[in-house]
């Protein structure tokens, strides 16, 4: 009976993930996964005996409520940190299970040590990721943190050996050490590398589940955990490919952002433009490509962008396309979610390979809050963290409109030569405001 339910549950999960192959089927796919989880949780609760059942239900409800409230309060630009945090909770849960298991028996098994290790790393690593993504910490002393990580690593190893020998205190100490290690380990990693870290931690939380499954001999957990572990690992691979980074490089050569570089160029070197100029260029263009980046998300300008596209298409019959870099935004696929939020048709949205063939024929490129993903230094500057990352080749277009608040560099901390390009018009200001003004201009003109 339980075995049949197990099969149903993991089948539902597998089907739900494969439903993500198209936007049309994805929503129902999520419902399938929820159904699966519902079956599993009810199954689990029914096997409990009376008082504990009640406790579990109450805990579950409180946790669930917090989860839902947290999710409701999350705006789409905040998505990445929310996903990181939730991921951390999943890891924490595994870690706690592993920890609790060691209390029942004189000697912990190797599985349990592994669970505690992986769970705590996932937890604290995700929390560190959360803090960085939410912009709550800025790290400058990466060197120091690196040394601390190294010391912690050695301590954790020793702690692990002691913990394996059984004393409860050592096990708790080991858990704490591991958590610190995960935290210090992830904290110095460059912000630009966060998509890679987040997807690895996503995978790791799956592997935690696998380990718990192995430890309690539950094939459902093994299957689902491995599935997620594998999927997270592959997503990591896709991301490292998209950014042309190696996972080991990401971890061991974190970036120290040089916020000073831009001062080398005085502001006079750039051509400043006004929303009027932008509106003029756009309405007379045949083809406009919009390149949104994280700044667009931060400004919450997606609705304005949708309106801009609509008015250009409907009033001025311009051919409008959106070019999305795989790592635009702060997590894989982030920009697509934001554009979906603003009801922008998926037919207008193109990935890097397709859109790079279109820039040549574009009259205007509207780069809004994007920076690293357009930075030509990725092709030339060998010591840059974005070196050899494929970029959106906006330089090929006739004119480039750059919307950002200052000449500050992007996430990767790299100056962008495009700012000083002949073709570029800088529209300094908030992405949302500027786009609004452009729309006002476009609306008032009678063409």
């Amino acid at each position: 009976m339980i075995s049949t339910l197990n099969i149903i549950v993991y089948s539902l999960f597998i089907i739900s993930i494969s439903r993500l192959s198209s936007a049309r089927t994805a929503y129902k796919g999520n419902l399938l996964a929820i159904t699966g989880m519902g079956i599993a949780v009810i199954m689990g609760l029914l096997c409990l005996n009376s008082p504990k059942q009640l406790y579990a239900i109450i805990t579950l409800c409180i946790g669930g409520l917090i989860g839902i409230i947290g999710s409701k309060k999350t705006s789409m630009p905040q998505l990445p940190q929310m996903v990181a945090l939730l991921n951390g909770f999943g890891g924490l849960s595994s870690g706690l299970i592993g920890l609790s298991e060691t209390f029942n028996i004189p000697h912990p098994t190797l599985w349990q040590i592994f669970i505690i290790f992986a769970g705590c790393i996932t937890f604290s690593g995700s929390v560190a990721g959360f803090l960085k993504l939410a912009g709550l910490v800025k790290i400058r002393e990466t060197e120091t943190l690196h040394s601390v990580s190294l010391i912690l690593f050695i301590l954790t190893l020793i702690g692990g050996i002691y913990a394996y020998n059984g004393e409860t205190e050592y096990i708790i100490g080991f858990a704490i050490l591991t958590s610190l290690l995960g935290f210090c380990f992830i904290l110095p990693i460059g912000g630009a590398d966060m998509p890679i870290i987040i997807s690895s931690l996503n995978g790791l939380s799956g592997w935690c589940t696998t380990l718990v499954g192995l430890s309690i001999q539950n094939s459902l957990l093994i299957i689902v955990g491995t599935l997620i572990g594998a999927s997270g690992s592959i997503l990591t691979y896709i991301m490292t490919k998209a950014m042309n980074r190696h996972l080991l490089k990401v971890i061991f050569t974190p970036i120290t952002p040089n916020k000073e570089i831009p001062s080398a160029h005085p502001e006079q070197d750039i051509h400043k433009g006004t929303p009027q100029d932008a509106a003029f260029l756009m309405e007379n263009a045949h083809k406009v490509i919009i390149v949104p980046g994280f700044g667009m998300a931060a400004a919450g300008a997606q609705y304005e962008l949708g309106n801009l596209a609509k008015i250009l298409i409907q009033k001025y019959h311009v051919d409008v396309k959106f070019g999305i870099h795989p790592v635009a935004g702060r997590m894989p696929g982030h920009m697509n979610v934001l554009l979906a939020e603003a009801d922008i048709s998926p037919n207008l949205i193109f990935g890097i390979d397709e859109i790079n063939q279109e820039f040549k024929t574009a009259d205007v490129v509207y780069v809004i809050g994007a920076n690293d993903t357009t930075n030509p230094l990725a092709k030339t500057k060998k010591d840059s963290t974005i070196y050899q990352m494929p970029i959106l080749e906006v330089e090929e277009a006739k004119r480039i409109l750059f919307v950002k608040r200052s000449l500050a560099p992007g996430y990767a901390g790299e100056d962008n030569p495009l700012f000083y390009n002949e073709k570029t018009l800088m529209l300094l200001g908030d992405a949302k405001e500027i786009t609004k003004e452009i729309i006002t201009n476009l609306e008032s003109n009678n063409s």
Binding site: R24, L86, I234, S345
Partner: protein, 95 residues
């Protein structure tokens, strides 16, 4: 029996591999949050162990585990549903 578990591990890896390459890059964010929510299945481990738990400390730890897993599950599915709802709507208006 251990052999079978290894087979299950390997086969699950292949399924993860195939399933993920099938996912359109458009939906990589929802993918992460769905898999994230699904990994909350670890709650079953906590529930299973809770039954055998006798001391206060293990019960507390397991209830904490349930608590965090619940946040993960409900939060994860809710936020996925929010995202996917937008894609669904978007899809409707254009087809």
């Amino acid at each position: 029996m251990d052999f079978y578990i290894i087979d299950i591990l390997i086969l699950s890896c292949f399924i993860g591999y195939f399933a993920i390459w099938n996912v359109t890059p458009l939906l990589h964010s929802p993918l992460m949050s769905v898999t994230n929510a699904i990994s909350g299945i670890v709650i079953l481990g906590a529930l299973q162990n809770l039954n055998q738990s006798e001391s206060l400390i293990t019960t507390t730890l397991l209830l904490l585990a349930i608590f965090f897993a619940a946040i993960n599950i409900f939060g994860g599915f809710h936020i996925s549903a929010r995202m996917l709802h937008m894609f669904k709507r978007k899809d409707k208006t254009n087809d």
